[in-house]
């Protein structure tokens, strides 16, 4: 037996061709790691092309996993281990690997033909370019082939087992049990693929034990997580469950109108299986039809929901305005991606904040929420439904590609402890006026067609106050614009909380930057820097105390994956000259980048 070395945390990245099955082994390693009890965070990174030419940089697909024996918030800045299935995967990822880190390469692919595809001229295994790392070359193809000898498989199918070989090898290296993956393979594959994948998995595991290439194996002990039942969850899955929870807790069907778009489609896929949970799905002919059907369903007494991404949001703008005007409940989930236009469909960005806040004709205020972690997507999707039916208004929930596909362990809530969403459909004709409002929320009554005596007409033309009749009078229009604005402003949202000490420097974030900011703030505080973190989840209306919190800090730093959108809103709303920290590379912030910004701010201060 080789020695076992204990580590606090590890960041591992699997990289290969998009057809190499890197996402499969990434999620398998994740599930196994979750079952072992580590805290973890993952992020897959894949190209927009389904199968770009094999061996090219464009086709490289990656999956990064950070697992730890203590609390972690991000998938990690730099991997310590890189599994590279070909030269392109090595080239695309090696610069991220920590110096001294381990590189496991599928050596058979390191041949001139593959170098050419990857755009390199010399063999990196021989030219000294990898001297700063520990390189372990393994003939994964040959070894998997040998493992599956005798099974009735074609050459291509044999070749496809080598990802499981790599997975088995990594399981040995980090002392993980094979059971979770064995069970998954048994349930997922038919013979002879089942047997082939299992043999390759076990062969990789046994090979690592036998060869002398790894000096020791590692162990990351379980994290001290809060007691409870856990599952690993991706943001899109959590969003879907949040919507299903809203259907259960409101007693009203959730009607999803959606048109497939990356990176939001998985929510549609998941919800299409929830019919028994009172969630119904309609795949429309386009983004506009999707929201039209959702609004039609809301008019009919369902909670209309749309899932989309930035380009789809742009197409829905007019219909969102109609929902504002007709004061119907509606939830629009924008899983943001790189823009403008088609932009970077599979990469993450936070550049739709302005679109969500202001991207409509006329004065068309809506409620805007932003989820901060994959798990938070559950709570915010539920919250979006609650606000939509309570205030009879559209609610936009912003998530992004990083949250959608990233995962973390979720301590499952007690379903009985989740509060009901009270819904009242008016049935009393006495004194009914279509646009009479609740004095507290300014919500108008929700009436289901089919209710006798309450027949009424709504539409996109300006409404007369109270009656809802078509009205073009100047003062009525001004009054109605103000009422619609006030209705959104009246939405009750929790106060903004501050973590740490904000007097010197406060980091204000929103959305998926939560993990990187919190980690950077923890790191800075551990080094004696006084810094605080406040994270916005309610973008419109913002928490009542937001201005006070910002004014308590001498400086406010706003990291965002855009060119500075929240920072403009904060400046405009609160007249505070916040410092912008923009990043717009299709990639999440690294902890180090935010830490450096905190550190620089300190330097500037000292220099004054």
């Amino acid at each position: 037996m080789k020695p076992v070395q204990s580590l606090d945390s590890v960041v591992i990245r699997f990289a290969g061709d998009s057809g190499d099955g890197m996402q499969v082994i990434g999620s398998q390693f994740t599930n196994t790691t979750a079952m072992v009890g580590n805290d973890l965070a993952t992020f897959p990174d894949f190209p927009a092309e389904i199968r770009a030419p094999a061996g090219t940089l464009a086709g490289v697909s990656g999956f990064q996993l950070h697992f730890s024996s203590s609390d972690i918030f991000t998938p990690g800045d730099a991997p310590e281990v890189l599994v590279a299935m070909n030269p392109a995967a090595l080239k695309a990822n090696i610069r991220d690997l920590k110096k001294g880190g381990l590189v496991v390469v599928n050596v058979e692919k390191f041949i001139p033909r593959e170098f050419e595809k990857a755009g390199i001229t010399t063999n990196p295994l021989e030219d000294g370019s990898l001297d700063e790392w520990r390189v372990v070359p393994i003939e994964m193809g040959r070894l998997s082939r040998e493992a599956v000898t005798g099974l009735d498989l074609g050459t291509k199918e044999i070749d496809r087992t080598k990802n499981f070989f790599a997975l088995g090898l990594c399981y040995w290296l980090y002392n993980r049990p094979l059971e979770t993956t064995v069970k998954w393979v048994e349930s997922k594959f038919k013979e002879p693929y089942r047997e082939a994948n299992l043999r390759a998995l076990r062969a990789g595991h046994a090979y690592a034990e036998t060869i002398e290439l790894f000096e020791s194996k590692y162990e990351v002990p379980p994290a001290r997580l809060t007691p409870g039942v856990y599952r690993n969850i991706m943001g899109n899955q959590a969003t879907a469950l949040g919507l299903a929870a809203a259907a259960h807790k409101s007693g009203v069907p959730v009607f999803l109108g959606s048109y497939p778009i990356t990176p939001a489609s998985d929510i549609l896929h998941q919800l299409s299986g929830y019919k028994a949970h009172n969630v119904v799905t309609f795949q429309a002919e386009d983004e506009i039809a999707a929201i039209g059907a959702a609004i039609g369903a809301s008019f009919s007494g369902s909670i209309g929901v749309c899932t989309t991404s930035g380009p789809g949001m742009a197409l829905k703008a007019e219909a969102i305005g109609l929902a504002v005007m007709t004061e119907l409940p509606l939830v629009i989930i924008d899983v943001q991606r790189g823009g403008p236009s088609t932009g970077l469909p599979t990469k993450t960005e936070q550049s739709d904040l302005m679109q969500a806040m202001y991207g409509r004709n006329g004065e068309a205020p809506v409620c805007v929420l932003a989820a901060s972690t994959p798990v938070d997507c559950f709570e915010m999707a539920f919250e979006a439904c609650r606000i939509a039916v309570t205030s009879m208004c559209p609610v936009i929930l912003l998530t992004d590609g990083y949250l959608a596909n990233g995962s973390e362990p979720w301590r499952l809530p007690d379903p009985d402890a989740i509060p009901d969403i009270p819904v009242h459909f008016r049935t009393d004709p006495e004194g009914f006026l279509a646009y009479k409002r609740d004095p507290d929320t300014f919500a108008r009554d929700w009436v289901r067609p089919g209710t006798p005596g309450l027949e009424h007409r709504i539409g996109g033309i300006e409404k007369q106050e109270n009656t809802g009749n078509v009205n073009y009078e100047p003062l009525n229009h001004e009054r109605m614009c103000k009422i619609r604005a006030e209705k959104i402003a009246k939405i009750v949202v929790p106060d903004l909380e501050v973590y740490g000490d904000e007097e010197d420097l406060l980091i204000v974030g929103w959305g998926s930057t939560f993990g990187a900011i919190r980690s950077a703030v923890d790191l800075a505080r551990s080094r004696g820097i006084r810094v605080g973190h406040a994270h916005l989840r309610h973008m419109n209306p913002m928490p009542k105390n937001t201005g006070d919190v910002l004014r308590r800090a001498r400086r406010v730093l706003v990291p965002e994956m855009n060119l500075g959108q929240l920072v403009r809103i904060l400046r405009a709303e609160y007249l505070i000259d916040c410092i912008s920290l923009p990043k717009i590379q299709g990639q999440a912030f690294k902890v180090g980048e935010i830490f450096d910004a905190i550190y620089r701010t300190q330097d500037n201060e000292a220099a004054k």
Binding site: M35, F255, Y274, K275, A276, A293, P452, E455
Partner: protein, 336 residues
């Protein structure tokens, strides 16, 4: 819902309290009036009617019908109607639309609603012009039409709305005219009776921007000559029995009856025959008389019925679907 005795309505019950703001003399008044008359006869509780429209003169229709109504956005009425009907199949859903709304900005949605066979009635007010934007050519305007935006004549080739609908796999297509009182009521009743998307083209006169667009077909003196009133199972004869339609190979031809040719030699209308429908949908003046009435209807399952059957099936298979099971499903682990 409890069983209530059938409600007796009059046309007046379907008139709303809103002042009608169509131009005096507009053909829309006649269409509204026939529709209100038919609604009162259908035996459906008023609260179960939903009128949905997009944008355009015709799309003001819901405001004038005392039922549930939704005046939505340009071209998208079919999408809202799909959401209403899928989530509430028991409602009677009607769409009022125009040639611009349904075939130009909303052509995509019209086509998709028809292919899905959502059980709604579509009343397409075709006046071959944009009225609400004050007189530009529409997708049914004739080639060469001089309008505000086409001073040298329109270059666009027009749609034949019923051929468009048939191409989109419509299961019910019919045609009527705003001033054909009785025929229009018959068509509206048939549209209501059909399970699936019922697509009704109504020739409508815009007396401000395209006055008399249909006069050459519908004037009292000539309509017998230039319209072909269809009846299921009856031979296609017109001009007071003087003329008929025959097939020459796959092509229809107009024949003079007499001299040995009788009505028995003419094509017999079969509403259920999609190939015949394809011929009728293409027949246009001046080569042919324009077919009026129900041109095609066939039975195909509706989207909304099947949508709800799947839901019922899923609920039957998983009668105790609980949030707990949903959240705690999949791979979980316990931390003590």
């Amino acid at each position: 819902m409890s069983e209530l005795p059938p409600v007796k309505y009059t046309k007046k019950d379907f008139m709303s309290d809103q002042i009608i703001r169509w131009c005096p003399g507009c053909g829309d008044y006649a269409i509204l009036s026939q529709a209100q008359t038919v609604f009162a006869e259908l035996g459906i509780p008023r609260e179960n009617f939903v009128m949905i429209s997009g944008i355009g003169c015709s799309s003001r229709f819901p405001y004038y019908v005392n039922a549930y109504g939704f005046h939505t956005i340009h071209g998208r009425a079919p999408t809202f109607a799909t959401g209403v009907k899928a989530s509430r199949p028991e409602l009677s859903v009607w769409i009022a639309t125009g040639d611009g709304d349904a075939l130009s900005i909303g052509g995509n949605h019209t086509a998709h609603m028809l292919r899905r066979n959502v059980d709604v009635q579509v009343l397409l007010f075709n006046n071959r012009i944009y009225g609400l934007t004050k007189g530009q050519y529409s997708p049914t305007s004739e080639e060469g039409k001089k309008t505000k935006s086409t001073p040298m004549g329109s270059l666009d080739h027009p749609f034949l709305p019923l051929a468009f609908a048939l191409g989109a796999e419509a299961t019910f297509i019919a045609r009527s005219v705003d001033i054909f009182t009785k025929e229009q009521r018959d068509v509206l009743r048939a549209a209501h009776d059909h399970r699936g998307s019922s697509f009704v083209e109504i020739y409508q006169n815009c007396n401000i921007f395209n006055d008399g667009a249909w006069d050459q077909l519908i004037d009292k003196q000539i309509r017998g000559e230039r319209c072909l009133f269809l009846e299921h199972g009856k031979p296609m004869v017109f001009a007071g029995g003087a003329k008929g339609i025959k097939l020459n190979g796959l092509r229809p031809v107009v024949v003079e009856l007499g001299n040995g040719l009788t009505a028995d030699d003419c094509l017999v209308h079969d509403e259920t025959d999609p190939y015949l429908a394809a011929i009728l949908a293409r027949m246009d003046y001046p080569e042919f008389p324009v077919p009026m009435g129900v041109i095609h209807r066939r039975v195909r399952p509706t989207y909304d019925a099947q949508f709800n059957e799947q839901i019922a099936e899923a609920k039957a298979a998983n009668p105790n679907a609980s949030l707990r099971k949903l959240l705690y499903g999949g791979d979980t682990w316990k931390v003590e």
